[in-house]
Point group: C2
Chain length 143, copies 2
DNA sequence: CAAAAAATATGATAAAAATCATATTTAGGA
DNA sequence: TCCTAAATATGATTTTTATCATATTTTTTG
């Protein structure tokens, strides 16, 4: 479904949503260990997220990564788009060029509805909401 | 979502459902070209499908691949299981070991319903039904 | 029974994804 | 201002996936 990279990135962002803020920055290694992702790899993944302003960072001592209010209002799909590219989730299940609403492939019809649901959720739920579901106890860690 | 291998395999099986039967066998190259998959690669993919009896074959001249009545009654998920393995679609979206109904991860709740729908469809619709949707004109090729 | 046509089996190569390692830049504090 | 701690940038390696190539077995037909 998603690449490992996207999964790692999502986990990292969720972790930051729960454990960081403007004043409390977290170093890669302190993200990588608890979410169970190789540190060097995660460091690399975080770069495009910072560049696209889904995650904030400051260098140097006392530096690290964190989410500010704007970052918190992004959605999971934003992360996926940055890491895996825009096409990954949009294309037809069989990756058929010519499959679309008018000329659906045999799998299209039986799956569109659910696929749309998933897409909607991934693009409408904010990181903040997801983090909140953990805080209020309706969702759980560890990542 | 799915590996290319699974997509190729599904396309091949759908093609056979529409263009083969016990008496009319189709050679790999005559499947590979129309469904737009490298021939040698497809040949390799077909082997496990034959072994698991999702596809039928006979060797030698006038030989080839085809689907019999039993083959037609399998589902798309059977193909995925043979090619990608059982775990591929079952695991949590973030591949969290410990994510389950009782302790769902933050993405779990918002996606379970649609995921279940997709899974149900993939495992309940038979190849025959999917092929029929093309014959009756509610779904379309080319693959 | 031999030759040819097909699948089947096996292995080699190429490309992509994941992982690891190292050098560079930036910011804070002594 | 210099040292250190952090992110950032870049490149190398490993692993997985996809692809290509070739040898072997089976079946039909002349």
């Amino acid at each position: 479904m998603l690449s490992n990279s996207s999964k790692y990135a999502i986990k990292a962002v969720l972790f930051l949503a729960l454990h960081s803020d403007e004043e409390k920055r977290v170093m890669v290694k302190d993200i990588a260990v608890p979410i169970n992702v190789p540190q060097a790899y995660l460091a690399k993944l975080l770069q495009p997220l910072v560049k696209e302003e889904l995650v904030s960072s400051v260098r140097g001592p006392k530096g690290g990564f964190y989410l500010n209010e704007e970052n918190l209002n992004h959605s999971v799909i934003d992360i996926i788009h940055v890491i895996d590219g825009e096409q990954k989730l949009n294309s037809c299940m069989l990756s058929l060029e010519k499959c679309n609403e008018e000329k659906p492939c045999p799998l299209h019809n039986i799956l569109v509805a659910s696929r749309k649901d998933i897409l909607n959720n991934l693009e409408n739920r904010t990181i903040k909401e997801l983090a909140f579901s953990v805080e209020e106890g309706s969702a759980f860690l560890p990542l």
